[in-house]
């Protein structure tokens, strides 16, 4: 504790303030309680349909690919088609997520689906997402029992399924959903924001995809009607 006290003492000396200053404490409490939003870009404050369109456009701009399907039952077919198109093995490591388990995988007889955290040999993963953020085409994934974090980073190809109703406008709306689910000040161990596949520009400023994380990020978007219907945006991935 002595290191702590010495540092806090030095900070207070520089701020010319004693410990337990009531006015300063009140200012901090107020700030943490009110959680005022900063300037939120107008581009993110749009209706549900425009949000989904913007989410897709921005995700594609960041080199992700996106397929829309009408209902969740179509996801296994869309996944198999994607793997075939890219000449990838018909084998998936899926998040141990009840919503993914419930999909009709038996319609894809060639596809092998294993559940669990990622192993080094897994080439393709499938996960849910907690939210999509239209502002920059960003996915928000929360770690948890049904969502091992390794699935988001180890495999070469990461496939994410998300419902249109989970797409919000700005980041702040996504944080509000997390807060509604986990309570104020509480977060799951890891919150991952993912915008496109892994990349680097460390060699002569030329952009190369697939530095350490996935080389491909594919999103399967289930068009389950307008976003306003979703009460809390949850249902999978957490």
């Amino acid at each position: 504790m002595s290191g702590r006290d010495a540092i806090l003492g030095a900070v207070r000396r520089s701020l010319k303030r004693a410990a337990g200053d009531a006015a300063a404490l009140a200012a901090v409490e107020a700030r943490l309680d009110t959680r005022e939003r900063g300037p939120v870009p107008a581009r993110a404050q749009i209706d549900a349909k425009a949000r989904v369109d913007l989410f897709q456009a921005m995700a594609e701009e960041h080199s992700a690919t996106l397929t829309r399907v009408a209902v969740a039952q179509d996801v296994p077919g869309a996944v198999a088609t994607y793997l075939k198109k890219h000449n990838l093995p018909q084998r998936l490591r899926a998040a141990p997520d009840p919503e993914i388990d419930a999909l009709p995988w038996d319609t894809q007889s060639l596809l092998t689906v294993e559940r669990g955290r990622a192993e080094a040999s897994d080439e393709t993963s499938l996960t849910g997402a907690f939210a999509g953020i239209a502002e920059t085409g960003t996915l928000m994934l929360l770690s948890g029992e049904a969502a091992p974090t390794t699935l988001n980073f180890l495999p070469d190809t990461h496939i994410v399924m998300i419902k249109a109703s989970q797409v919000v406008g700005p980041y702040e709306d996504a944080w509000d959903l997390v807060r509604a689910k986990h309570g104020p000040g509480e977060l799951p161990r890891t919150v991952n924001f993912i915008t496109g596949p892994s990349r680097t520009a460390d060699i002569e400023q030329t952009i190369q995809l697939g530095a350490h994380g996935p080389r491909r990020l594919h999103i399967v978007l289930v068009e389950d009607g307008p976003g306003e219907e979703s009460e809390d945006g949850t249902g999978d991935g957490a």
């Binding site: 290191g3 702590r4 540092i7 806090l8 030095a10 900070v11 207070r12 520089s14 701020l15 010319k16 303030r17 200012a27 901090v28 700030r31 959680r35 005022e36 900063g38 300037p39 870009p41 701009e61 960041h62 141990p96 669990g116 955290r117 990622a118 080094a120 920059t136 770690s143 948890g144 029992e145 091992p148 974090t149 390794t150 988001n152 980073f153 180890l154 700005p170 702040e172 944080w175 000040g185 161990r189 890891t190 919150v191 991952n192 924001f193 993912i194 915008t195 892994s198 990349r199 680097t200 520009a201 460390d202 060699i203 002569e204 400023q205 190369q208 697939g210 530095a211 350490h212 994380g213």
Partner: protein
Amino acid sequence: MRSIAHSFKDNAKAALADPQLRRALDNIKTGFITKRAAAAARLPEFEALRDAARDIKNHTLDHLDLYLERYAENVQAGGGHVHWCATAEDARAAVLEICRRAGAKTVTKGKSMISEEIALNDYLEANGITPVETDLGEYIIQLRHEPPSHIIAPAVHLTKDAIEADFRKAHPQFPKDRPLSEPRHLVDEARQVLRSRFLAADVGITGANFLIAETGSSVIVTNEGNGDLTQVIPKVHIVVASLEKVIPNLYDLSTILRVLARSATGQEFTTYTTVSSGPKRPEDPDGPEEYHVILLDNGRSRMLGGEFREVLRCIRCGACMNHCPVYHAIGGHAYGWVYPGPIGAVLTPGLLGVEEAGALPNASTFCGRCESVCPMRIPLPKLMRHWREREFERHLTPAPVRYGLAAWAFLARRPALYHWLLGLEMRVLGALGRRKGRFAWLPFAGGWTRHRDFPAPQGRTFQSLWAERKTGGAP
């Protein structure tokens, strides 16, 4: 790392004479600058966001003690440990102790400027632990035993040919005749080599772009995904971060993130932003079992109290160096320590002392581009001026500069004498230089004429022209 900031002039001279460096630095001028400008232009709220980002940090710094307390309480509540470290030495020792207790042999590392500041790699190595840098740029410079030359693009001073040569030397396990001339080949080879390192590491060390008081979280921002593999696979995750990284809440994070990537690389958003709050929970299928935060002061609490407080708003985006004509000319290594460019010119004397780093704030043309692009609106030129004043007050300025300034001050207080002398000098130089219109050499001006000609004066002084105009001469 050990500082060589005191030999800035020699470092800069050597850099100017390096053609390979010239070629590599040209990439910055075209890449970062145009991309940032386009990203800023695309977001109408960009300037308002810069104001908001500045205000968030100002508020936090004004209440830094309280936010740090709140942050640390929340880390502990989530099962993590905070190690308060006043000096670089304390921080190194704390990291080593955690590694020893974990029985660590290899440690993977995400990119961290604080780790460079406390010279962690050398220390771990000296104590029998192998640190492996995993950010591609950091990996390359680790192979070369070099410090980073840029805060977000550590290997920006290298061309791909140089990197190819390094990889051929460092990776003898691959066939000699493999193709390796394109960036794609180099990235793939590094990916393959580092993959096994990620899986074998006992401890993962990352930096933090931000610490969140509200939730006790650390935040990293990367494009490669290396930081995430570093922190999710090993049993122990250590975060090294300095005091001023703390911000109040998650909305504040979103506000600042909106200006960070755009200012840094011109991206709308960085590929991976990860918010981590403690170790693995009982129900989690993966993640580290231990989560430690090394919270480093190393001079920051002192800077908080003086005229340099504003520099603590810095979010290490690199925009100031990307736009700096001096950085463009000499690159990052000439600055001699961890932080190059305008931010280094202000921060390094604050952390190492003006005796060691007084030359850095003098390496500025005061063109003001750094301040104009800094997302946190840090008045870098003003702060450099403050350092120059400090240096002068403490008689650290070299004698010729002091005498020159004294002579100039003497004349500036005697306008008639000043005008007469200047007029005389112009007539003499004008006559001497009439034939060529320039001088290749002049007494007392060797510093100038060594690299470029000095133009010969043509006609009269500005002041005499101005006087004539005021009395109704030319329109």
